[in-house]
């Protein structure tokens, strides 16, 4: 405890230095903009801004990119409440009651509840991250290749399970992503695989062009042809204060959303999206007036908004402590850290305490900045929504090309982005989840190395995965998830994953 507080003091000495403060602020502003703009999610935002961090030191870069991630969670609620358009996927559930509150003249109160809930959740979950990451990292030092293989496999299975909709489709996307990750030089033998003479593919297919293509370009292609944005409800500053009753109604949902979001955040999957859905369902179930949900229930705003913010901190736990990303956004963050010569994992906390604790402390500061940005300055961000989409998407497209090119100064990356954009467009039309593809690309080299090392250790016996307790437990959890996914096929009923898929499509 005392050691943690001492470490946190070290972190604040880093986070409160003017350059780190500046980059945390820039990250929060960009993140809020990314969250506000429909079609530009945090994944595309982080990928696009990655090249702009090349000139910065590792701490400044990571602090800024993390600011974009949790800033987007704050910003996403604005469009949901004022326009009934989720700025990013985690705000889908806020659309329902947030917009209903806005139509009743309580737009300001809904924004304030969302912002304060996000602040509380963001701050509390950073405390949990601070206490959980170091012991988890210490535990991970016991991991050998079989344990890492089982952990990575479990990560993919959980992501597939957590994705709404068909499990076979999600698993096929994970396999597709892993196959993409096989392109390039084989780490153990030096063979060129599936590169067809393209030298640039020797290093493999990068996660940034894949992520920007599948999420950014595919979104532009799907939304092309949209003419004018829908009308925006603009709240006045004096309307921002919720009533006493509204504060009271939001207190418990915020607390529950914080705990739920953090726990879901640790589990692999698109945590920020899933957590908001689960929180909404929990609040509706626990409410004494469930009939109010859908008609402006305060809990329907406070719960999901707290949960999606808390999930962002939770998602950093496995990334920082184990070096294993739990979803596509932490995967891009992991790639960004590697670009800056930082290797997340069990050794990070001991070897680079300034970076780790500076990052943690910057999240406290960032949450305060975001509270300030998202309440008094909400009108400023709302104006961005008035830009017609035909003017907006060419700019996003130009930034996508710029960002992807700049990572390696490689036109091949731009071609990969272009191809993945087309593939992502078709996958969306065919209702395939694209998040497992991104995670597959990142995990493929680690997974392959762990499997081959494990087999070499056991002289070719797969029984090694069943003879080590940690690996066996992890694989057993994965097998259990597969069985759970089969249950709706047997019982012919909708489980929560099917309902999530419907909610994301707007059918619920």
């Amino acid at each position: 405890m005392v050691e943690t507080i001492q470490n946190l003091a070290l972190g604040f000495s880093v986070a409160l230095s003017p350059p780190v403060l500046l980059y945390a602020f820039v990250g929060c502003v960009v993140g809020t903009l990314v969250g506000v703009l429909p079609g530009v999610g945090p994944l595309a935002g982080i990928s696009l801004l990655l090249p702009a961090t090349f000139g910065l030191n590792a701490t400044n870069a990571i602090v800024m990119l993390a600011g974009i991630y949790y800033g987007a969670m704050y910003g996403g609620s604005t469009t949901s409440i004022l326009m009934r358009i989720p700025g990013e996927a985690a705000s889908v559930m806020t659309c329902i009651d947030g917009y209903a509150m806005a139509r009743k003249g309580r737009a300001g109160a809904a924004l304030a509840i969302a912002a304060v809930g996000s602040y509380v959740a963001g701050t509390v979950s950073v405390v949990a991250l601070m206490f959980l990451a170091p012991p988890l990292a210490a535990f991970a030092l016991r991991f050998g290749p079989p344990e890492y293989f089982a952990l990575l496999l479990l990560g993919l299975l959980v992501l597939a399970y957590m994705s709404g909709g068909s499990m076979p489709k999600a698993l096929s996307m994970a396999a597709f992503g892993l196959l993409l990750g096989m392109v390039g030089i084989d780490q153990m033998t030096g063979y060129f695989r599936y590169a067809y003479g393209v030298v640039e593919l020797g290093d493999g297919i990068g996660v940034v062009p894949v992520a920007v293509g599948l999420f950014g370009i595919a979104e532009i292609l799907t939304s092309a042809g949209q003419v004018t944005p829908p009308p925006v409800i603009k709240p006045k500053l004096r309307e921002l204060l919720p009533s006493r009753q509204e504060w009271r109604d939001s207190a418990m949902p915020t607390a529950r959303g914080t705990v739920l979001g953090f726990l879901i955040g640790i589990i692999p999957g698109s945590a920020h999206i899933i957590s908001s859905f689960v929180s909404y369902a929990v609040e509706r179930k626990l409410s004494k007036k469930p009939e109010e949900f859908g008609h402006g229930a305060v809990a329907g705003v406070a719960g999901p908004e707290s949960a999606n913010n808390s999930a962002t901190s939770g998602a950093f736990v496995p990334m920082l402590a184990l070096g294993v990303p739990s979803g596509p956004i932490p995967a891009v963050m992991l790639a960004a850290m590697m670009v800056h010569g930082v290797s997340p994992g069990p050794m990070l906390i001991n070897e680079q305490p300034q970076l780790f604790w500076g990052f943690i402390a910057s999240m406290y500061v960032g949450n305060i900045v975001l509270l300030i940005l998202n309440l008094p300055m909400v009108g400023l961000f709302v104006n961005v929504l008035r830009v017609p989409y035909p003017l907006l998407y060419p700019v996003i497209l130009a930034f996508s090309v710029l960002g992807v090119y700049a990572v390696n100064s490689s036109v091949v990356d731009v071609w990969i982005m272009l191809v993945m954009g087309g593939v992502g467009y078709l996958l969306r039309k065919l209702q395939f989840e694209t998040a497992p593809v991104v995670l597959g690309v990142v995990l493929a080299p680690m997974l392959e190395m762990a499997l081959r090392q494990s087999l070499a250790m056991s002289d070719g016996s797969y029984a090694i995965f069943l003879s080590r307790p940690i690996a066996t437990t992890l694989l057993a959890v994965g097998a259990l998830l597969m069985l759970l996914a089969l249950r709706p096929l047997v019982t012919k009923t909708f489980d929560w994953r099917a309902r999530l898929a419907l909610a994301e499509k707007g059918d619920l």
Binding site: P51, A52, F54, G55, S166, P168, K169, L171, S172, A175, F176, L178, L179, M182, D186, M188, T189, Y191, R193, Y194, I217, I220, L221, T222, S223, A224, G225, P390, L391, Y393, P394, V395, L397, A398, V401, L402, Y405, A406, S409, V411, V414, W415, M417, L418, G421, G422, Y425, L427, K429, L430, Q431, F432, L447, E448, L451, R452, L455, A456, D459, G460
Partner: protein, 146 residues
């Protein structure tokens, strides 16, 4: 034809292609897996999942029902992206961006020519200044130093 069957069919073809291409690489054995070992394993898994998607995909929505109204826009945007990839290092960042934005705004979105030109030139110049000059991101200048 349903979306699941089309998607599953495409994945089956991809898996078969990977299996075919993996023949060129050493497979190794289970004690000492070669570079083709894991890709072959993955391609077989993909084949299996895709087969399940096809088999269970009878009741999914039809391909036509997916709504392809924006396909012309999508093709134009992808074409513009391809132009950017081809031109970026040859003619430089600023000229490529200006020409691409002009095409998207003037031709695809049918905005007024003055607006399109001003926007295209302004954005390409300003973004070059911010990223290349201020943030020192190396951007290509092309054969003419632009």
């Amino acid at each position: 034809m349903t979306i699941d069957r089309v998607g599953g069919g495409a994945l089956v073809l991809l898996a078969l292609f990977v299996l075919f291409e993996s023949r060129k690489l050493p497979y190794g054995n289970v004690q000492n897996p070669g570079p083709a070992y894991v890709p072959t394993l993955l391609a077989m898994l993909l084949l299996g999942f895709a087969a399940v998607v096809i088999v269970t995909g009878r009741g999914s929505a039809g391909v036509a029902a997916a709504g392809w109204g924006e396909w012309r826009h999508a093709v134009a945007i992808l074409g513009c992206c391809a132009f950017m990839a081809l031109a970026l290092e040859r003619v430089g960042y600023r000229l490529t961006m200006a020409a691409s934005l002009l095409f998207l705004l003037g031709v695809v979105e049918r905005r007024r020519l003055v607006t399109a030109v001003a926007f295209a030139v302004g954005f390409s110049g300003l973004s070059f200044y911010v990223f290349s000059t201020l943030l020192r991101v190396p951007l290509p200048r092309g054969a003419w130093g632009l």
